[in-house]
Assembly symmetry: C2
Homo-oligomer: 438 residues x 2
């Protein structure tokens, strides 16, 4: 039997993830060939600079002309692990227009422009796979796209950023302040020198957009994701949550509003989660995605959300699947027939809320506060009043209220906070945190 013609593969990027992908393509070529039914041939690696030591890879493979590489016209598959919007976007569009299927780990690009990429894949009859773009090694795209496609997903809540999970973990277990925990994370290499994208939730928001699109069969753009980071989370927040049986996690949340005309709520914010909830025990740099659906009920997926080898694992799973599709002559258009739901304004999002503020300790004040909540249709689940002492005490405001509301909309809650601020018997600082999970 003649040796079958190999499938031609180009790799864009040779950094932390790219070097692992190259390693697997080279070292595991026999296994991959057996699983695909045809060998893969790595024909080129697009890089920014050639003067970098890259052991184990034939130097002749590297090129700085990625645009020419993806436009060769004989490629079966292009793997993109550069990250960022450009030049990744142009390169992938060109690759697909030249007939290649695409595997990408680029969350920023998919979060900002899934529509154009999907459309280009469909128009050219090629595959666009991106398991590695959300939650690293955790298989979540196939479960949402395929395993649960006969079900109705109600909500997706994910710990999708390891840096913030590490920082919140340290604040919780070691009682550190945000600044000290961030410094430790930076020293250990868990946080970048400029940590903005992580701690302000931008990275999580890009992933939230992708998750919401997968879960609800619609297109969601990064700009439509409500986003609040963890830089304003205080030790007091963490301690108060702990005392009430909660931990604080930065969650990416996507859910539907009630029918009819269900729209997508999609948001990233620090969240109080009951200690008994499966997400509460996901610690350190691990990621986890929690899914609630009509028939399957509650599901959780946990694993490493970043790192070269874990991300490469997800990339390679896509590579094998796309290569098999290629051999069968069938691209797997999983977006067919999807509905277009709008994204609801954040004001329509509902959640339980925890609110902490100080009040004057005199008769009638508690009733006046309760009236403010009631005026805006926010009903109270628990109210806890404690007497403040010493340094924690602000002149005229001797009592602290810890309030847990029932489910209330962001709009109603904001109106409550405004009215509390205007009330003479309420101190200046009003802290609010959203609560999820049962």
């Amino acid at each position: 039997m003649a040796e079958a013609e190999p499938l031609k593969v180009a790799l864009l990027g040779a950094g932390v993830v790219g070097s692992q992908v190259a390693r697997i393509l080279i070292a595991e070529s026999a296994t991959l060939a057996a699983r695909i039914g045809r060998p893969l041939e790595l024909v080129g690696i697009g890089v920014r600079r050639l003067d970098v030591e890259r052991p184990g890879v034939d130097p002749a493979l590297f090129t700085t002309d990625s645009a020419a590489l993806v436009a060769r016209g004989d490629l079966d598959l292009v793997i993109e692990v550069i990250g960022g919007i450009e030049p990744a976007r142009s390169l992938l569009l060109s690759a697909m227009e030249h007939g290649a299927s695409v595997v990408t780990a680029n969350k920023a690009l998919l979060g900002s422009d899934m529509a154009a990429l999907s459309h280009c894949a469909n128009a050219n009859g090629v595959d666009l796979y991106y398991e590695a773009a959300v939650a690293g090694a955790i298989p979540i795209v196939r479960p949402l796209r395929e395993s649960l496609v006969g079900d109705e997903i109600r909500a997706v809540m994910g710990i999708v950023n390891g840096t913030t999970n590490y920082i919140l973990d340290k604040m919780t277990t070691a009682g550190l302040s945000f600044d000290v925990a961030l410094n430790q994370a930076q020293e250990l290499g868990f946080a970048e020198a400029d940590p903005t994208a992580d701690v302000e939730g931008h990275d999580a928001a890009a992933k939230a957009a992708i998750l919401a699109g997968l879960a609800f069969h619609t297109e969601v753009r990064r700009e439509e994701v409500f986003c609040e980071g963890i830089s304003r989370v205080t030790e007091t927040d963490i301690a108060a949550a702990d005392q009430m049986g909660f931990v604080v996690k930065l969650l990416a949340i996507a859910r539907l509003t009630d029918e009819p005309d269900a729209r997508v709520i999609v948001k990233v914010h620090p969240t109080m989660v009951p200690k008994t909830h499966p997400l509460a025990s996901v610690s350190g740099a691990y990621n986890a995605i929690f899914v609630e659906s009509r028939d399957a009920g509650q599901l959780m997926f946990m694993g490493q959300g970043a790192g070269g080898a874990p991300t490469a694992s997800a990339v390679m799973g896509d590579v094998v699947t796309v290569a098999r599709n290629r051999l069968r002559g069938a691209s797997n258009d999983m977006q067919t027939g999807y509905t277009t739901r709008g994204v609801a304004p954040i004001g329509d999002a509902t959640a339980r809320h925890y609110i902490r503020f100080d009040v004057a300790d005199r008769p009638g004040v508690l009733a006046a506060c309760a009236t403010i909540f009631g005026d805006h249709n926010v009903s109270l689940q628990t109210v806890q009043q404690s007497h403040l002492e010493g340094a924690r005490r602000q002149a005229g405001f001797e009592a602290r209220l810890n309030v847990m509301t029932h489910e209330a909309s962001e709009t109603d809650l904001a109106a409550v906070v405004t009215d509390l601020h205007l009330a003479s018997f309420v101190g200046d600082t009003i802290d609010v945190m959203r609560v999820e999970g049962h």
Copy 2:
């Protein structure tokens, strides 16, 4: 545009799962049609008896002649939720020979005869999907078969039987004996009147065979799975595990022996798992699958392992995928090019072991015991000696030893136990439990 010809679907079984599948096929037909790109038409439901009330389903659909139903010749898809080997096996083979793709939730059948079914699917160019057969609603088949197909799975460990997990949970949290916990589970409907298949591990063993086959790209039969149930787990075992920082779980375990000629270890047994391990906190009727792979590292998948709606969710995910494959004219032969690895004898399996036995409390005894372990190449991690009092004490054997070994083979460990039994300074009862996870 003319209405597209619907895909014809037959359902075998209308019990707990079947009635949920029928409900979804009927109530969600518009959504399913949108996701598939073509409507599904339920053309018949094979049942044993017609004289059963089945509200919401057109009575004309039911037939007791399932053999004729699957042999119609115009079916696109047959869904089998009868369970058991026959007549399910013959019906599915006939369905595939008549050109229909198959979705099944039948773990017993797949655990005993995956080879014949896979071969029949390939020979007839149809799909065989079975997400619901392992761990109910938890998406595990696609993650193992596709997401991790570019990686190397090292081990799979699963809590795949809700009944035994519930019983062990009750023994742990409420201090119940096995018999009392089993009775409670039966009263609550979590255990069958004849609980043998669950408590003796047979159900878990069938799932272990399927998981091992998926993880290691080979065929494993139920008869090749080493199987030990939980009926001999005592309150003392649970308490001793707790005291050492472990919980007891019934695990289905599949891993490879070392290269070269790596073979599959596949087994089901009560296992001590560290309390810090992700599997330790999976409680009640939940299932979970823990995966270790070369590149992805540690992953865990958690969800409901049984029940009508959760199982139907997994079935319907397969139905949509198979229907899409059908429309593309491409069956998804995911078994291509797989290797055939043998199953290793259980004696080759290695694990840490916990051993508890009573000894005479006199000088030299501990050294003599240690010598027995050393003679069989079993090295000790910790030895804890305690003095027995009152009723717990057997004449002549006043001290209890709690021993934790390093990794040792079952063969070596069995030799140790035999020699301990022969030693005059060791009491009659020697309790052993395997330990997994770090």
